[in-house]
Subunit: 498 residues, 2 copies
């Protein structure tokens, strides 16, 4: 099933470079889009660069797919300069309606007539924000979530004047950045997500206000329980499972009556007076325990990396959005592999892997047997390269490993990119002598070496047998390209040699 | 930092074996606790066994730490039979106060005076539930979250009559099962978590009721956005980061005023009439897309496995609860192994495994890297035997494998029972030289041999260091019992020797 290609803009204009605008800048730049930033604050550029640093680090840990060359960041002195050739204009100013209306109006006069103009507002109505705009049919709300460079959700909300084609074009643009657009059916204050978040936030404030729980206890009540589910499944799917095979109907029949007995402070709104504010600030400082915001943001990003990678392995929820983006980034994976082997010269780079979280042992490092997993996969890749494919095996022939010698040299951690370089040390009609070096991408640290003796077998005769001529020809060709490479210092230590 | 040992009960009584009771049964049995189940429903046992199957599968994927031998499940005909020798009585009947009061009253008359008696209620007050009990000082609410066998959170709520020691003892029991107790400071309807969940649930119902969004769109608004954060960080810590280095104070000053402009349906409660019920059921069925509850529960569990493993790698939130439980499991297993091998002379049989179907490669046999899996597990078991337990590792010491030599001799198939016999070939203060023979039970065929060189390291100093005297004493004792065994024919082929 082919996925339709999304249209990535070349240039985007950002109005506002705070937490949200900076997050947009990082997402766009890492997707290869040039960014023109307008922000009257003198420290805006510095903040954007700090956010970009965090985003780069997080994305490098997240995916092995090749990210495109980064876009360029230009800070402009005026709105018109920022928007002049932008295909996307994204406004992320503070949540004051008058201010946003003014910015959007100015941008609409200077922007291309074909540009998409979007506001990052978390709840203001698009029909009001576009009041003073030229061409309001180009305008919509595109509401992202913090960290914008990482969370896939973006709510798209049009007003009565927004063209259907604007929503479709915008959805394609945001998908091209790895995001998951959620089109909100009609204008409503707070859209969908922030209405839900507001309900939770108010109840959380009451719990602290009434001294039922501290800030940290409220957070623990989420992160050790329902929060773990919400990363994978939403409210309704979770409760459906609470109904067992009877599903949602059974759940509602069982728990519906409880709606008549509200526990929450539904009819009341907490007053954020000085006493409550001080309590919240003091408890929040205690929870942060001296860690800076930047430090906590890195922890958050590392957790999100691990969660997204985990969900990608399940092809579920946000993991599917990530997998989709990676497919787009990789394009033709065969071509990608060919490039990789060409670049490696005589040595073959046939296998790479990001260390999954479930390969980590109680020492916090790559568990022993997974070293052989990586080495054995490299052997398999080598066998595929010389023509040992499904048909060959179905005909009753294969290579079997008879002896393995591993040197464990350094540790690896979850999320690290590992690759192997493979040497064909020797071969004859029946035997193969392979040597892999397993390294970490980035600092190229040698983590392990694997030396492997394989025998070619005829499984129907249950005996060793010479390999097919085509396979032997491939082996000779590879041996030729590697003739000049020095003998690996660590090789030749297995007991039996060819 | 030493962790205090928690007290795991030998026997627990469960009153009610539905979704929650079944989840308790699975968690307790997998932690090695014997369970006595009382449930008048004829299909209760069947449901518990299905839940146990799911839980077993999920835990096997979750951790490489050795789970204890499973407890035994006994279905009883009466409450008194169930509770007679139980150290923990856990009531998980439907949420009807009169029913729970009656069950708890009966249980309190038959239970040990030292037993902890707990209710799984998600919001009823302990002071009311314990009205008719003998010895209400033993009673508390212990509110778990679905799936109970997997989510760590359990809210502990005492009433005015609950003894402080009851709360402390219960917290220790639930921690011993790998859970994270959250002590709620005082009685309140809905405790902490369900007040938060209720607020979210009501707003979600309104969004569907008013056709702002479908069930699936509401869920997407969570799982592609804030839900990913909530698996790692709660409401307050997340918003603290929204305030940048200004923290909670800056966040509140910026967004506090929005509290006066509520978006949510705070003042109203949705009526769950037939029309709304049908809408929810129809949309939920569409979202499930033909997948059974069991199928979706496995997806959920696999996602939770990935999320928990990811968070463990970050030592954050629920990942820290998992890491703590793993350390305890390793310690328990070491004690268990020492008991089992006290009188053993000669070769040590420390590890056995039934070959799972997903260990089989395209040749139809045990895949290459799983040979090292079996050998490495045997090395781990040997290390536990000589005292390398959770505390030892937490103190920064461990043995690391530096060299491995495997001879692959014969094939193995799915379902076969394999075991290893372990020899300590040599050791000194820093080095270990181990040799495993891996055999098939039945015909005792030798499948592989593994020869392993390990170094003792001080991880804080990132250098080799002598092992603790107690460990060296264990090694000497084992060497003595193996003195008469002949040198293995295949050993001594690794390059470097001690």
């Amino acid at each position: 099933m082919r996925e339709e290609r999304d249209t990535k803009p070349r240039t985007a204009a950002l109005l506002g470079g705070g937490v949200i605008g900076g997050g947009w800048a990082a997402r766009l730049l890492l997707a290869g889009v040039d960014v023109r930033l307008y922000d009257p604050a003198s420290d805006a550029e510095q903040g954007v660069i700090a956010t970009l640093d965090r985003a780069r680090r997080a994305w490098r840990r997240l995916t092995m797919a090749p990210l495109p060359p980064e876009g360029s960041l230009t800070v402009t002195d005026s709105i018109s300069e920022a928007v002049s050739d932008a295909e996307l204009v994204q406004e992320s100013a503070p949540e004051r309606e008058a201010l946003k209306r003014e910015l959007l109006s100015q941008a609409s006069h200077a922007a291309l007539s074909t540009a998409i103009i979007a506001s990052s507002t978390s709840g203001l109505l698009p029909s009001r924000l576009s009041t003073d705009m030229d061409g309001p049919e180009r305008f919509l709300v595109a509401h992202p979530f913090n960290p914008v460079y990482f969370l896939p959700l973006v709510e798209l909300v049009g007003g009565p004047q927004t063209a259907t084609s604007t929503i479709e074009h915008a959805a394609s643009i945001y998908r091209s950045l790895g995001m998951r657009p959620l089109v909100v059916r009609r204008e409503i204050d707070g859209f969908i997500a922030d209405r839900l978040l507001e309900a939770l936030w108010r109840e959380a404030l009451w719990l602290v206000n009434d001294d039922v729980a501290t800030v940290e206890e409220v957070d623990d009540a989420i992160t050790y329980g329902a929060g773990l589910r919400w990363a994978a499944m939403g409210i309704f799917l979770t409760y459906r499972l609470g109904g067992g095979e009877g599903g949602m109907r059974h759940f509602l029949e069982q728990f519906g009556p409880a709606l008549a007995l509200p526990w929450t402070h539904l009819t009341d709104v907490p007053t954020l007076d000085q006493a409550l504010l001080e309590k919240l600030v003091t408890q929040s400082d205690a929870q942060a325990d001296g860690r800076s915001a930047d430090e906590l943001m890195r922890v958050r990003d590392d957790c999100l990396v691990a969660i997204l990678q985990g969900l990608r392995g399940q092809s579920f929820g946000a993991g599917e959005a990530l997998a989709r983006y990676e497919r787009a980034l990789i394009g033709d994976s065969a071509a990608h592999l060919r490039d990789a082997t060409d670049d490696a010269g005589g040595t073959l780079r046939l296998h790479q892997v990001i260390v999954p979280t479930d390969w980590i042992d109680y020492n916090g490092h790559l568990t022993e047997s997974r070293y052989l997993d990586v080495l054995a996969e490299s052997t398999d890749a080598f066998l595929r390269l010389i023509g040992i494919d499904g048909d060959y095996i179905a005909d009753g022939h294969s290579y079997y490993t008879v002896e393995t010698h591993i040197r464990h040299i350094a540790e690896a951690s979850a999320g690290e990119h590992l690759y192997t370089e493979t040497r064909l040390l020797a071969h004859d009609q029946k035997r193969l002598h392979l040597f892999h070096e397993m390294r970490r991408q980035g600092d190229e640290t040698l983590l392990a070496t694997g030396e492997h003796m394989l025998l070619h077998v005829d499984r129907t005769a249950a005996a060793t047998a010479p390999a097919e001529p085509a396979v032997l020809a491939s082996l000779s060709a590879i041996a030729d390209t590697q003739r000049e490479l020095p003998w690996p210092e660590a090789a030749g230590r297995v007991g039996r040699r060819p």
